[in-house]
């Protein structure tokens, strides 16, 4: 047991940091998820810089432009990017559909789609959730019926992040109306968002922003050449996503930065000679969260180390997702209480600034952070996965 990086890992870390120092423009730093959605141009520029270095697709199979990095190298890379406050890269384009096309796409599909992902010509969104298929994804009803060389798609997707800026959607559709198992009648289609019959409508969320959309399909003709994997095999394709690299899922570096922001707010909240940070009750809440975050940081390292030794557990990703999202939410809640009465103001140019200079955005970010325990498989589903694994294989130390 040891906590140190090997010489080679340290060397790699220096390479990554040097690259970030040179290539990451100051005005790109601190670009948030919200900014990515409202002004995707910066994310595109950052992705182009990574692509030029060959690092954008590091996690893809080597034959498709991947670099064969070890889990620890991916971890080091993501950590360094987070520490430099680099914009997030598109999870859906780079982390999800790219690797899926590498694994399931025909040569023609790979030749067409992969370069467009790398150059940023395409930006992808994920068409999974429907009004009546959330956690119970397999009950989805958007239908695709064969008509010659086309599928005719009709139905509705919802909570579709990025649909308003995306050029392509990877979409689960029903190709068998009454399959024996609902999972058996699902197909994955790669749908050009400019096709006639697609309507995208914004859904404003409680933070006032436009993250999500409804997407309506009104007899949209999608060529069968846009099917990814076999007909009725879409569930297997989607399941493969679960096996992809999960470093970064707990977002611990960003959460560490958030904890620092909360401390800054508390230090600026003066009352007489002391600040909120000096108050015992507040400081002990902050300290407990600091310790819990440190625990999560080490747990994430243990997960990476297990992946390095090919000893990952199936539920590691679920654990990271549960712990990462819920801890971040707790820290946001502490941030809200640190802001005190100012947290009541809707943050815009007219609202009063906090003396620390930080914080006004925290109010709305905290609101959107409620989504993190819902998207990507609600935490209830993640707990089901963890419990199922424990009950099936028991528990070993």
């Amino acid at each position: 047991m040891d906590l140190t990086l090997t010489e080679a890992e340290l060397c790699f870390q220096r390479q990554v940091r040097d690259f970030l120092a040179a290539a990451l423009k100051p005005e790109w730093r601190g670009v948030s998820d919200v900014d990515n959605r409202t002004q995707p141009a910066i994310m595109a520029k950052w992705q182009a810089a990574l692509a030029a270095k060959g690092w954008l697709t590091a996690g893809w199979p080597v034959v498709n432009g991947g670099l064969g990095w070890s889990p620890m190298q991916h971890h080091i890379f993501r950590q360094a990017c987070s520490q430099a406050r680099a914009p997030k890269i598109s999870t859906m384009s780079i982390g999800m559909i790219g690797p899926l096309i590498c694994a399931f796409g025909s040569p023609a599909q790979q030749e067409f789609y992969l370069p467009r992902i790398i150059t940023g010509a395409d930006m992808w969104c994920q068409g999974f959730s429907e009004p009546n298929a959330g956690s119970d994804l397999a009950s989805l009803q958007t239908s695709a019926r064969r008509d010659g060389d086309d599928y005719i798609v009709s139905g509705q997707k919802i909570w579709t992040t990025y649909a308003h800026v995306a050029t392509q959607m990877f979409c689960l559709v029903r190709t068998v109306a009454h399959a024996e198992r609902p999972q058996a009648g699902i197909t994955m289609l790669l749908i050009d968002m400019k096709l006639p019959g697609i309507t995208v409508r914004p859904i404003r969320t409680i933070d006032g922003e436009h993250h999500f959309n409804e997407v309506f399909f009104d007899d949209v003709r999608v060529p069968t050449s846009c099917r990814l994997g076999g007909e009725h095999k879409g569930w297997d394709v989607a399941r493969a996503l679960l096996a992809f690299e999960r470093s970064g899922i707990a977002d611990v570096v960003a959460t560490r930065q958030l904890l620092g922001d909360v401390a800054v707010i508390a230090a600026g909240e003066a009352s007489g000679d002391t600040t909120l940070l000096d108050r015992k009750d507040f400081a002990s809440r902050l300290t407990k969260l600091d310790i819990a975050l440190e625990a999560l940081e080490v747990f994430e390292m243990r997960v990476m180390d297990a992946a390095e030794r090919k000893a990952s557990k199936d539920h590691d990703a679920s654990m990271l997702k549960i712990l990462g999202s819920e801890l971040k939410q707790e820290i946001y809640a502490l941030g809200i209480s640190a802001l005190g009465i100012l947290a009541v103001a809707w943050p815009d140019d007219a609202s009063p600034a906090h003396p620390s200079g930080a914080g006004s955005k925290l109010v709305v970010d905290a609101l959107f952070a409620r989504a993190s325990s819902i998207y990507g498989g609600a935490n209830e589903i993640q707990r089901n996965i963890v419990a199922k694994a424990l009950l099936k294989s028991g528990f070993e130390i």
Partner: protein, 377 residues
């Protein structure tokens, strides 16, 4: 970066696991106090024979030179089997103090004896951190001519009624913290023995008119502070490792119960309310274990602020996890979880007894807070 135990450590764990399982409270149903007596007599000789005590002692004195990670490996196994042996008190605290501060003569006399399991120690008192800088319960005054008068009273000393020797931490404004060791049966030692909730021998200790000389001290007069603090941190981390083992055992017992107990015509494991709580118990376990491993790794270079912070973090997180897992294990067992017969209750009592030892979670939280710099100056 590596969180795996070495093959030697894993092999040793397997050996200990086999032995502990034969006599540990997780399986054995004989009287817990009779079992406790044997953990200090014949079982104690056995685990000394297996090398579990020597493992943590310096090589120069019949030890194997193991470090804080070896200590965690051993204590996780002890916890898992609920083997109530005083390994921490002897192989970590007493041996650690003699090794750091003792004279050559003391090392020669006591370290091989600890390794062989022929001498046992208790330490008074292990909760110095909880005092938040206040003086220890025992104090001493110089009588001149190399003599010292030691006096004081401490209500709760684990192992004090079962050991051969007491190590007493004494305070004095000048020259500072000092360690003395005395035989338990010394005529100026008054012990009022009792049992702990987790079936360990303990006693109140009263020292009156105890006169010692410099040869009875461990290390320089006034020079014990740093070593005591370091050794108690190593003990604290090792006990977090033991707690992790106990928690793992409780998780396993709970999983088995959920799968076998049937109500409403189906196993309890089918109920989502229980499944989710099981997932939360497991998450708490993994978080605590993570910080315990970190404290163990940093314990190879102990005593600095990084090690102190890591130990305090481990204690805080472990205490929180132990409460959740202990209480949920009883609740999810239902009424049977209340039974004195069942290992579940014993495990919960073991965890509860650990809480205030080597500094409470609250005192460790304060120390951790003091070691953090939240906002750049």
């Amino acid at each position: 970066m590596n969180f795996e135990f070495s093959s030697v450590q894993t092999e040793f764990r397997t050996t200990l696991r086999r032995y502990f399982a034969m006599h540990g409270g997780a399986t054995v149903r004989t009287s817990p106090r009779e079992t406790a007596r044997r953990w200090r007599t014949d079982f104690w000789k056995d685990i000394a024979g297996l090398g579990a005590l020597a493992a943590l002692l310096p090589e120069a004195f019949d030890g194997a030179g193991g470090d804080s990670v070896d200590a965690i490996a051993i204590m996780e196994e002890a916890g898992r089997a609920q083997a109530g042996a005083p390994i921490i008190e002897n192989a970590i605290i007493a041996a650690g103090l003699f090794d750091r501060l003792g004279s050559l003569r003391q090392k020669q006399e006591f370290l091989p004896a600890i390794a062989a399991g022929t001498q046992q120690f208790a330490f008074a008192d292990a909760n110095i951190l909880a005092l938040g800088g206040a003086s220890p319960a025992f104090s001493f005054t110089s009588l001149g001519g190399g003599g010292y008068r030691v006096a004081g009273h401490q209500a709760m000393i684990v192992e004090a009624s079962a050991c051969d020797h007491l190590i007493i931490l004494c305070g004095a404004a000048e020259p500072g913290l000092t360690l003395f060791h005395i035989p338990r049966n010394h005529r100026s030692v008054t012990l009022r023995p009792f049992w702990t909730i987790d079936d360990r021998p303990a006693a109140s200790l009263i020292l009156e008119d105890l006169v010692l000389d410099a040869a009875d001290s461990i290390g320089e007069i006034g020079g014990a502070g740093a070593a005591v603090s370091t050794v108690l941190d190593l003990a604290c981390a090792a006990q977090c490792g033991e707690a992790s083992g106990v928690m793992a055992s409780l998780l396993n017992q709970t999983i088995t119960h959920l799968k076998t107990r049937t109500q409403f015509g189906q196993p309890l494991a089918n109920f989502q309310a229980l499944r989710h709580r099981l997932a939360d118990m497991y998450a708490a376990y993994e978080l605590a274990l993570s910080l315990t491993y970190k404290a163990a790794i940093l314990g190879r270079e102990p005593g600095g602020p990084e090690h102190q912070a890591a130990v305090s973090a481990a204690k805080v997180q472990t205490t929180e996890a132990a409460r959740l897992i202990g209480h949920e294990a009883i609740q999810m067992h239902g009424a049977i979880g209340m039974s004195l017969e069942l290992p579940v209750g014993r495990a919960v009592k073991r965890l509860q007894a650990m809480e205030p030892q080597f500094g409470s979670a609250a005192s460790h939280l304060r120390r951790y807070q003091g070691l953090r710099r939240w906002v750049a100056a």
